[in-house]
Amino acid sequence: MPMIDAELDKRFGTREVLCKARLVVRPGSVHALVGENGAGKSTLVKILAGVIRGDGGQLAVDGKPRDVPTWTRQAARAAGIGIVQQHGAFAGTLSVVENAVLGAERVLLDLAPTATQLAELGKRVGLPIDPWARTDKLSLGAAQRAEIVAALHHGAKLLVLDEPTAVLTPVEVEGLLETLRHLAREGTAIIIVTHKLDEVRAVADEVTVLRAGETVATFTARPFLVADIARAIVGAEPPEAAQAPPLAQGAAPALVLEHVSVGTALRDVSLSVRAGELCGIAGVDGNGQRELALAIAGLVAHAGEVRLGTRDVTGASPRARLAAGLAHIPEDRHHGGLVLDGTLADNVVLGRPDVTGRFRIDRARVAAFARTQVEQLDIRPPDPHAIVRALSGGNQQKVVIARELSRPDLRAVVAAQPTRGVDLGAVARIHDQLVGVARGGAGVLVISADLDELLALCHRIVVVLRGRVVGERAAGANGWGDDARGALGAMMTGAEAAA
């Protein structure tokens, strides 16, 4: 008997997000739910976990039929369904253990026993956590581990993970996938929402593919052919990956950092990106990448020198740096990138006086500009008046990319996690754009936790560890050598430095 047998409908306003989307999950199996952004994956799992209400359809949990429109978070929790959401659900200023007992139906709380249980449970399933750590002080990976442990602590028999690997590094991803396999062997059913097909291949027992709110394919027997899944996801042949153009010899430096430090997070980093070069920053999340991007953009105080071309912008404000030819794609589009309650057009021209005009907004020009960008990046829905909050993650990211990479006279680009949590089609578009600006003569610094992304995109990869540059590699004439991946991975974890 399946743990979950669901066929769900959901509309947001007039938009049909799910239409008889079928999902069957067996106990003790890892079930991958894949599809493009906006296909309805998150919506589907949120309905299962009672985070949002479905409009109709059928839902059977452990063979027992349930009423979809009245299925709540409490009911789901009681039925053993736990969810770890894409952007985390923990309240920032509380500790892990306090978050774990939030919503528990008890009046008096003695946290110590629960903390011990959490720590032990974490150790047992291979997810070490500190139950007393404040959740806003945790790295994204650690916060996610804590959420998984908390869900298991609540007695989850079905664990739903919405894009869990989007925020993790290769090493952390390996660890997480291993844990998921372990949990499944112990009988926990797992739904993992993901874009990454190598993860599907590595961990999934079964696969459901959603497209435009409908289940278009299911794969129930390993081994899966990744090409088949990819075809089912896009409904056509997957797009070709962008290629970095050959690097001109002797190109002038576009972005230069000399001895840049930010507190203790980033220490004495010197780096030069040449015009037309795509330079990657690899490293395990939380090793100073965030501070590096912010320092270049002028958003944190830093020591050392930052130059754009020959121009010293060390003391310059963020606005002056942007005006001097910098573009900054912030790592978190919700936090630093977008005004979610604004329209697509609002966001595409935010801080772009070259489009809007200095004081009075030239509305015709803004509308034309937004339409061009929507077309160029294939942003969906193609409506400049759409509220950005309602767009899928990939399309939101395209809005940020559109605004930043369309700046006039670009000299240098800092792209922090440019394709985090973004679907295959959008990744290709975004890579195209990054390669495009490099071809146009800008120096591009790509910061990514996804080493494969950097290998696909960059001429050179610099590795950071504990805030310092610990090594770098450049692609040869024939691309990256076979050993590049392993060597960079070793540097990321500090194995190289120790040797």
Partner: protein, 353 residues
């Protein structure tokens, strides 16, 4: 306490649902208020239909009452805008009382200091500017404390309300009040704004300044890069910062503008009606502006409508005070605001996610 304000904040900051749905929400809210109000009226032993009918007809049939509605609405438009402009930038300006009082003091003092022969073309702009500058100074102070000292604007606003009220009373007592009255010297005749001539009511030409202010706010907010920046920092300060907007500077400017709008409320009281400084002039209107801003959904035109509704409820309540106690209509004002605050999320949920 800070927490409670922030809940209100969230309510007022919800994105606009578009004119049709906003009106839909307003209609629902009005019907709900009417129903709750009817229960209250019923509890006093009267027939709700009679009372409502009397309220509408007694206001509609009397030019004086209509003038009263407009007079009350005029000041509310100013103090409502003072709240909403700040709210757009993510700041809660509840210093409307201080800003209005400072405006009244400055406007009447400057007006009284002008030579009696000053022509209107000079006297009126000078007094209007004085009112705006005084209110703006209070707003700027709140903004500067918030940006440079991280002092929460709600706290500083509350404190400034008390300080300005005390200071004004002291200045009045020691310098301004004449012959044992609580009234200062009359302003220059040229500074007086003409009455609208509605049955002897104090409705005056400050209404035009109020409507022009609402129009100006609407234009700045939706059609200029200033508005773009001020809305952006209200919705996501971090994103605004990363595209090069100087968040602190904009916050101070917005608070200054908000304070200036609050101060402009003085034009109706001083230039249009009393023509002198008076103790307690405009008192309470600063706070009622919060209601106007919430009811008007922090939109300039919404605030004009909301001010008219609140003005009507207040005037209509007095008009039927022989039938029902006037406290009941005061409660009704609160009920209307609450009904709007709760109907908007409801309509929003029903229309989209």
């Amino acid at each position: 306490m800070k927490r409670h304000f922030e809940v209100l904040f969230e309510l007022a900051r919800r994105p606009s649902l578009g004119a049709t749905r906003e009106l839909q929400a307003a209609t629902i809210a009005l019907l709900v208020s009417l129903a709750l109000g009817s229960l209250l009226v019923f509890a006093t032993g009267r027939s709700p239909a009679t009372v409502w009918w009397a309220m509408v007809t007694r206001v509609a049939d009397s030019p004086y009452a209509i003038g009263q509605v407009l007079y009350k609405a005029t000041a509310l438009v100013f103090t409502g805008l003072a709240v909403s402009v700040a709210l757009d930038a993510g700041l809660f300006n509840i210093g409307g009382e201080a800003q209005l009082t400072a405006g009244v003091l400055a406007c009447s003092t400057v007006g009284a200091a002008l030579p009696a022969s000053t022509p209107a073309a000079l006297a009126i702009p000078v007094c209007v500017l004085a009112a705006a500058a005084a209110g703006g100074a209070i707003g700027a102070l709140i903004g500067i404390l918030r940006v440079t000292r991280s002092a929460h604007e709600v706290i500083t606003s509350i404190m400034l309300n008390a300080i300005v009220a005390g200071l004004t009373l002291w200045i009045g007592n020691t310098l301004l009040f004449r012959d044992g009255t609580t009234r200062g010297l009359a302003i220059a005749p040229g500074a007086e704004l003409p009455l609208l001539g509605l049955g002897g009511s104090p409705a005056n030409a400050a209404l035009i300044i109020a409507l022009a202010s609402a129009l100006a706010v609407w234009w700045l907010r939706g059609r200029t890069t200033w508005g773009q920046a001020w809305l952006a920092i209200g919705r996501n300060a971090e994103a605004a910062r990363s595209v090069g907007i100087s968040v602190g500077r904009v916050q101070i400017l917005v608070m200054t503008g908000a304070g200036a709008l609050g101060g402009l409320g003085a034009t109706s009281f001083v230039l249009g009606h009393k023509h002198a400084f008076e103790q307690g002039l405009g008192s309470g209107v600063g706070f009622l502006g919060i209601s106007a801003a919430l009811l008007g959904r922090a939109h300039p035109f919404g605030i004009v409508l909301a001010s008219l509704v609140l003005g009507f409820l207040s005037t209509g309540g007095l008009a039927v005070s022989d039938i029902i106690p006037k406290e009941l209509t005061e409660m009704l004002q609160g009920i209307v605001v609450l009904a709007v605050a709760s109907s908007v999320p409801w309509v929003q949920r029903r229309s989209a996610a």
